[in-house]
Subunit: 431 residues, 2 copies
């Protein structure tokens, strides 16, 4: 028996005897030789089983091995330029762990409803594997960048007594007799923790009970939210472009194999370096009108508008100074023009729409108090949030980046549902 | 004006003019000199304001600065062995951003109920700052170790149609007309994703609607759950001891200042290196009886038992082979003795109780099916989970480590509520 190694490390074992523990992905019967495509979660390698090299029992086992059977294979690693990955395994022993019968996802085409119902198995296919591997890289890049730029990770609560964004899209729960809600954002809590740590981020699941069924919406999605004391709108944009560029460039560097598996044209991603273009909301409206889209000042952009604006630039584009009325209650007003606020959204390139929302928050107690009234928010639930303006208030900014939208863009795929292992949507909570 | 720097970086600016943006932590009036203890979230530095060096306006502002006022201070960095941190700031300018009135948390003693009600402000105090800084280090160490040991981070859902651990402690929510629950563990989903990635981990919030009010329980807590294909109970323990040792040693190395702020005796933490002692459940029962605690074979350990067992060892201790009846339905039976299972808990040192639960999972379809029946679980909700034993089932193991319990132990503090920014407990969901 050879040492148990993972397929990703196989190049280091050329000429040596190794053991692979995994599953049969596919196979080809060439009479005297069986070609077994083996996967173990870290990669795929071709196992070559020759009748002359193995016992008749092992050869027969190889011959009868079915798709997705679990199998332990021992053999010698050999360099072969024609093999996928550059190496193959000359098999001399094989142990079937479980012989799988009638694996439901065959190499033929399946409908999306069927695949979603079998998501727990669909994840084993090469495309889904590549997307989720890129997702993990994005998550790691997010944390690495923030951790190495002085941001302290402070987890904010999921169960909250009040809402942050939109009270019409809340999931509720009974909290020992009180009404509680699943968080839509950790931002308000981040605004408290910057008082202790200066620069913070929370990174966790957030929830929107959205009744819309679009390819850009999940009811449960992951969001990273950095927040910074003593940073204004301009400083916020500078952080955002550094941050997003780092994420994209890290994926390009570390996940070339997966991007290739997705047929991703990487030339567009290579352009994602600072600085990003910055336009005002006013300029964005002008741009839309120039492109022939009727759009009235004061409205919020919808997906078609975001697509048109995003496609007008090579890189992701900032849109700042939205109308105060379309943004959340906590946005800082532009002091010289209170009908617009110091908000900024970042639209991904290639028409992929908003991936970041953020901006400068209200520092003034009086303004915030007025806003809470205007928005009919329950004052008592926001007492602690008002405290942050009572005791050492500072100018501060922050933003939220949606992981799944970012992965959708980086992978250049059509539907957001493939960017999370077990998507939650209007019509789906299983498996 | 000097360059804006963070206090943690101040040593690199000796002799230079810098600007600090932060808050007044404390101050001392010595007549001709004001000593200002300034904090900016990254550290604390003493600002020295001499009447002879500054305008009378600046001196007067310094004199009237109140606790937790937000302030921007410019001055020259000077090495001074007597100063906290080894450096102080010779102030030449000062701008009050907000003059705080009546900050509620004064240096005097406050009751815990008051502090919890003002948790959003309490976080600014040095002890809370130290604990949460250590928490962030623990979180980073967890991810760094797993990412560098071949585990792929795959996020598992929070909203689930079925329960994993204990159906009596579920938070429910209405999911567009269907009943859904907040997750108690991502493990079942991890068992699916190992089929795609070999070794995985999920890391997120988990929920228990526990009616018990103890110093070890939160209703919302963070858990990291690694899961490994083709790994048995023994392999699982080897991973656990490497993992926990790395976390503890990393905190010792990177958070010495914070451990000192908590008066933590670090000699006990230094001993947390592999291997950890391993005892069976049978041996643990014997140990309890020998120590004079009446305990009958077949029961689960409570907090007092865990404390006694844990205190009998210098390092964290594994207890394996629990009675099958006290563990979850998915545990693998010991084939030679089915009344015990291949489970393992890890008890922290110093009597801090369980920090990890885990073990080898059932690989057999027939056994799992029987268990689902015996536990009266809704078969339909577990169809996908049964699929994992139909299609390429493999021996596999995994575990869950609770972040807050681990931080409680590492910090050696009394109550778990201080290890998370905004704790959720039976009687608390505000702020």
């Amino acid at each position: 028996m050879g040492e148990w190694v993972y397929i990703k490390d196989i190049a280091a074992y050329e000429g040596k005897q190794v053991t692979i523990k995994g599953w049969l992905y596919n196979s080809t019967d060439k009479g005297k030789v069986q070609f077994l495509l083996l996967r173990d979660g870290t990669g795929v390698v071709q196992g070559v089983v020759s009748r002359k090299d193995v016992s008749s029992q092992v050869f027969s086992d190889a011959q009868h091995l079915t798709q997705e059977s679990s199998v332990i294979v021992t053999g010698q690693v050999r360099a072969d330029k024609r093999a996928p990955g550059g190496y193959e395994l000359l098999v001399n022993n094989l142990q079937t762990v479980q012989l799988t019968q009638d694996y439901p996802i065959t190499p033929k085409e399946h409908g999306i409803a069927f695949l979603m119902e079998n998501r727990h198995l669909w994840l084993r296919s090469s495309r889904q594997h590549a997307i989720l591997r890129i997702r993990a890289e994005v998550v790691k890049a997010i944390r690495d960048w923030l951790d190495s730029h002085g941001f302290v990770n402070v987890d904010t609560p999921i169960l909250t007594p009040s809402s942050c964004e939109d009270s019409t899209t809340l999931f509720g729960t009974d909290y020992f007799g009180e009404q509680a809600y699943l968080t839509q954002s950790g931002q308000l809590y981040n605004e408290a923790t910057i008082g202790a740590f200066g620069k913070v981020y929370c990174f966790g699941p957030t929830f929107r009970a959205e009744k819309s069924k679009t390819r850009r919406h999940l009811t449960e999605f992951w969001m990273v939210e950095p927040e910074m004391a003593y940073v204004d709108l301009e400083g916020c944009m500078e952080v955002e472009e550094q941050f997003v560029s780092y994420i994209v460039q890290t994926v390009l560097q570390n996940r070339a194999v997966e991007l290739e598996a997705l047929d991703r044209d990487t030339s567009r991603l290579e352009k994602v370096v600072p600085p990003f273009p910055r336009i005002t909301y006013d300029e964005a409206v002008e741009l839309l009108n120039k492109k022939g889209l009727a759009f009235e000042w004061g409205n919020d952009f919808g997906a078609p508008h975001e697509t048109v604006i995003g496609e007008s630039f090579e890189k992701p584009v900032f849109i700042h100074h939205y109308p105060t009325a379309v943004k959340a209650f906590y946005m800082e007003e532009d002091p010289s023009r209170p009908e617009v606020c110091l908000s900024v959204d970042l639209l991904a390139a290639e028409g992929y729409g908003e991936i970041i929302g953020g901006g400068q928050r209200t520092a003034s107690y009086e303004l915030l108090e007025r806003r809470i009234k205007e928005h009919n928010l329950p004052r008592q639930a926001y007492e602690w949030y008002l405290d942050l303006r009572r005791y050492g208030s500072v100018p501060h900014s922050g933003f939220g980046l949606g992981v799944e939208r970012t992965v959708t863009w980086i992978c250049r795929i059509h539907h957001i549902r493939e960017t999370i292992a077990f998507p939650r949507m209007l019509d789906r909570i299983y498996p």
